[in-house]
């Protein structure tokens, strides 16, 4: 899973931590790699899981309140009455994964209950392992070697037939491609070694395919100036999700987006072991960060209720709406839109 970081890295960090926290709760092993902060610190900051009862009740209350309203029959828009109610957020019926309370930290006991491995670049650089000529950025090469070592030692690739209990390894790599990894792909248009990042991803893909592991990578793509590399990186990933936060951009004050903190762009979804992929109905997703929860919902356009709707604001909204339905790379992306 490849996540494009938002400008200030706030929200992508959150997703990253969710991924790792889910691993802890499910009892998977973790491997955390970073060049920015020490993995120990990252692990201390994981959100605490919400006990099933409390969250279920919260959502249940909200859901119940909503359904009461909808029992009233619609007077003007009666044609729409028969359409199913649009579910904006995950319902209580579908329980996949766990929910987390980001205002609380995960307890150290829970953290210690799983086996985790860390890779902090600055510590690793000082040690000198045997390195063959790999033709790749040394930071990346070391990370790959470390990963491969853990995978084969711990038996994630099925190499140890004695091991009865097979577990999953969740790998999290933070801010790949940033200058901290020793790669200048984020700084210049013509980087010194343009193929390091893509080679790294290819070898990582090989490692993931041959072992029971899943990996999330966050990359500060807004810093990468060479778009060709971004295209190649997208092709090499199974799933690409971009987070665009509204902080500091003009969209922060746009009434269209007043309930949300940012948009979620799903650029690519995995098409594995099948001819088809699981495409959802809508492509417009936005996220919002409430006090305790980070939710991703379908983006609703607020109803246009003002009396004086000037030409300018209508065009503005239309312009933003155009950006919304940009489609998903695995199926189709259109550039021109039919204007009604």
């Amino acid at each position: 899973v490849f996540t494009e970081e938002d400008k200030y890295g706030l929200y992508s960090n959150l997703l990253f931590k969710y991924f790792l926290a889910e691993g802890v709760v499910c009892g998977h092993d973790l491997f955390v790699a970073s060049a920015k902060e020490h993995p120990d610190n990252i692990l201390k900051e994981l959100p605490a899981p919400l006990l099933d009862d409390s969250y279920g009740k919260e959502l249940g209350d909200e859901g119940a309140a909503k359904s009461e309203d909808f029992q009233d029959s619609m007077k003007i828009a009666w044609r729409y009455q028969n359409l199913p109610k649009m579910e904006a957020s995950p319902t209580t019926h579908t329980k996949f994964g766990h929910y987390y309370d980001i205002s609380k930290k995960m307890s150290p006991e829970l953290c210690q209950s799983v086996k985790w491995h860390s890779f902090y670049l600055h510590e690793e650089l000082s040690s000198e392992p045997a390195m063959r000529a790999w033709n790749m950025n040394s930071g990346y090469a070391k990370l790959l070697q470390s990963l491969q070592r853990i995978i084969s030692q711990e038996g994630f690739d099925g190499s140890d037939p004695q091991k009865k209990q097979r577990n999953v390894l969740r790998i999290g790599i933070q801010s790949l491609g940033s200058i901290l990894w020793g790669d200048d792909v984020c700084c210049s248009d013509c980087p010194e070694d343009p193929h390091s990042l893509t080679k790294f991803l290819y070898v990582l893909r090989g490692l993931l395919r041959k072992s029971l592991s899943a990996c999330i990578i966050t990359v500060p793509t807004h810093l990468i100036q060479n778009k060709a590399i971004m295209e190649r990186v997208t092709n090499l990933s199974d799933m690409v999700v971009g987070l665009e936060s509204f902080i500091g951009s003009e969209r922060e004050t746009n009434p269209l987006y007043k309930d949300y903190h940012g948009l979620v762009h799903v650029h690519q979804i995995p098409r594995l072991n099948s001819l088809i992929c699981d495409v959802s109905d809508t492509k417009d997703l936005a996220f919002r960060l409430k006090r305790k929860l980070f939710t991703i919902e379908r983006l609703h356009l607020p109803p246009d209720l003002s009396d004086t709707v000037s030409r300018a604001s209508k065009q503005d909204l239309a312009g933003s709406a155009k950006l919304l339905s940009s489609g998903c790379g695995a199926v189709a992306i259109g550039k021109r839109h039919l204007d009604f």
Partner: protein
């Protein structure tokens, strides 16, 4: 016989065509050399099973020679020192050579018919060529490779070659565009899958342009272009004329 087919996708995923050609040629009894650079063996195997072909059986009988790029790359980088005389098809990754000669030798050796082979014409299938650029091969090296393959497989062995590449309209990846344009000029048949220009649609997954390059063989001929739209299902892909998808009729 002796045809070079280019599969090209833009803004969508054309890999369903690769699965189709793989099962098509295996069912026809041809000897297939499949250079799979992007996905694992089990991925293709599972889809092929849905299409009615068993890759493992074909491999055992010697009908299918499968190069799993990902595994080969790992073996090269993490394996013990290679024995002298044995080199990996992906030798260029280690930087010792900059051309794809090792890969070509692998293809040539796999498809050269041996005495006991009774398969019909050889076929080379590559998925996908754009990955070689990501791995550090120069576009010229990749073009040399395809040229050599075309000469040896299509002309000498009278077989077919099917290659998949990605391309984007406003792509800034100049190397890739160079590769794709050059391949287009040398292909006999181009199957170009594109996402719909109007955006995402649940019932129509994309459109496919079939270009028969008659102008390649005979100077006065014009290329024949046909356009259809398609929808991908679990075991099948349905094609229909533009605007006439089942959802509309």
């Amino acid at each position: 016989q002796g045809k070079f087919t280019l599969l090209r996708d833009t803004r969508t995923d054309g890999s369903f065509l690769v699965h189709h050609f793989l099962s098509f040629y295996l069912r026809a009894g041809c000897k297939v050399c499949f250079v799979a650079l992007l996905q694992s063996f089990s991925h293709y195997s599972i889809v092929a099973q849905k299409l009615g072909v068993s890759l493992a059986a074909a491999q055992e009988q010697g009908q299918l020679v499968f190069l799993e790029g990902l595994k080969s790359c790992l073996d090269l980088l993490f394996g013990e020192k290679e024995q002298p005389g044995e080199s990996s098809p992906l030798q260029f990754l280690s930087g010792s050579t900059s051309d794809l000669r090792a890969l070509f030798d692998f293809v040539r050796v796999s498809l050269t018919p041996s005495a006991q082979d009774s398969w019909k014409g050889p076929v080379l299938l590559v998925d996908d060529l754009s990955v070689l650029l990501s791995l550090g091969a120069a576009p010229v090296a990749v073009l040399d490779f395809t040229h050599y393959c075309q000469m040896s497989v299509c002309c000498q062995l009278k077989g077919n070659v099917v290659v998949l590449v990605h391309s984007n309209e406003d792509s800034e990846d100049e190397e890739n565009e160079l590769l794709v344009n050059s391949l287009c000029h040398h292909s006999d048949l181009i199957l170009w899958t594109e996402g719909l220009a109007t955006g995402f649609c649940k019932d129509v997954h994309g459109q496919i342009k079939i270009i028969k390059r008659l102008s390649l063989r005979q100077a006065a001929e014009q290329d024949l272009v046909q356009i259809y739209q398609y929808k991908i299902q679990d075991r099948n892909v349905t094609f229909f004329a533009r605007g006439l998808s089942a959802a509309v009729l």
